[in-house]
Symmetry: C2
Subunit: 255 residues, 2 copies
Amino acid sequence: MNPVIDCLMNHRSIRRFKPDLVDDETIEALLQAGIRAATAGNLQQYSLIVVDDPEVKGKLWRGARDTGAISIIAVVDIYRMKRWLELNDAPFYFSHVVNLLIAYWDAIIALHNTVVAAESMGLGAYYVGTVLSLDLGEMLGTPEYVFPAGLAWIGHPDESPELRPRLPLEAVVHRNGYQIPSDDDIRRFYREKDARWEQMPAERRESLKARGIHNFAQMRTVGHYTEEFIRGESEAILKHLEKAGFGLTEVPKGD
Amino acid sequence: MNPVIDCLMNHRSIRRFKPDLVDDETIEALLQAGIRAATAGNLQQYSLIVVDDPEVKGKLWRGARDTGAISIIAVVDIYRMKRWLELNDAPFYFSHVVNLLIAYWDAIIALHNTVVAAESMGLGAYYVGTVLSLDLGEMLGTPEYVFPAGLAWIGHPDESPELRPRLPLEAVVHRNGYQIPSDDDIRRFYREKDARWEQMPAERRESLKARGIHNFAQMRTVGHYTEEFIRGESEAILKHLEKAGFGLTEVPKGD
């Protein structure tokens, strides 16, 4: 197609890295690509926190301490703008659900630009969703109105996995309105996933059955993201949002 | 650098489009690049809704009815997965804050891939944040557990704007911890923005002053995103989230 689309089409999550960390010049190129991403109102309500110190890496994930990956954490950052507003005698009421979501969007596309840029240079990356529940105030000293949006580990790949299958385009794409699928549609969309249950080694299947898991859908959802896990992540997110000053269900009074 | 980084570095938001809509073959290429984006648990908890029908475009934004842009709306879509779970006798407790944010992340990077792919083909695009407050259930028939994440208008560019300035990298990037800026830091970071107040035509400045706006920070924030606007957007988002079944501050009971 073209080198950009080829790069996007060839994304694989890379989880094993060679020991040498990405060098500073390369990191700067990734970050420069990051901040060129579109940003609402050109206000850049996000920050990118590079973590390459082994001690700090270990705080993010114990196993990361001695790996060859650096981390880029994208955070919603409305604190910097608030400081600017204070110096300019402007009121601050940007801590509500719309502000959080818009800044989250900004933060994620800045991070995604760094990841795409990394992949274009032959580096590998993977995203970690559990960053959302981390207490970054405690771990990295983030101030009020800062909240994790995303995290990528980036390094020199030490594996070259196959492309992972995706749902067929017709499952994910709608046109001019949302087409409610029939049960047969759902079975067709997920046929390839469902079939993976029978493709697993019998031993694996038996051990899952012993845990009450009887098909691929159960394995990938409730077997992986337990209710306990969802509760713990959600509680931590709500606690840290509140600590950061975001009023998730409050709205400003209006003019 | 390389063609991918060049493409990312050259992003401009394009708001004026030539009359001819992007053709179907190109749209499909954009969507294919979209669904190759990383996705949490390989579960693709999002959908992409292509809007090219003039009537439906007009619902999204009255002015869009007769433009040459198509719209791609990325939505958090936990409904499709719920249907799959139901067919597989699996419980559903994926409607909480962590599920919303993870699916939002997935949806945004799928959309961003389509936008980057479009830009690589010489097309132009711009994001519209107010999609978050739209009632997509009403407008597009989206079911429960579907919620807007992002919207891009995409078409053949009919303008070629300059690159917009960004904050200096040191303002946005932190290393191994969040460095709290001093007031002087903030002034330095925002110096170029602040200077734009004096660079505006005197007439413009005077009309802003008449509205109580006395510097660039006030102009770009409270002059643009009024408290009334933030309230209205936030209230609509909260209403539609509830209607879609998301319990923003509720958590599941745990195992």
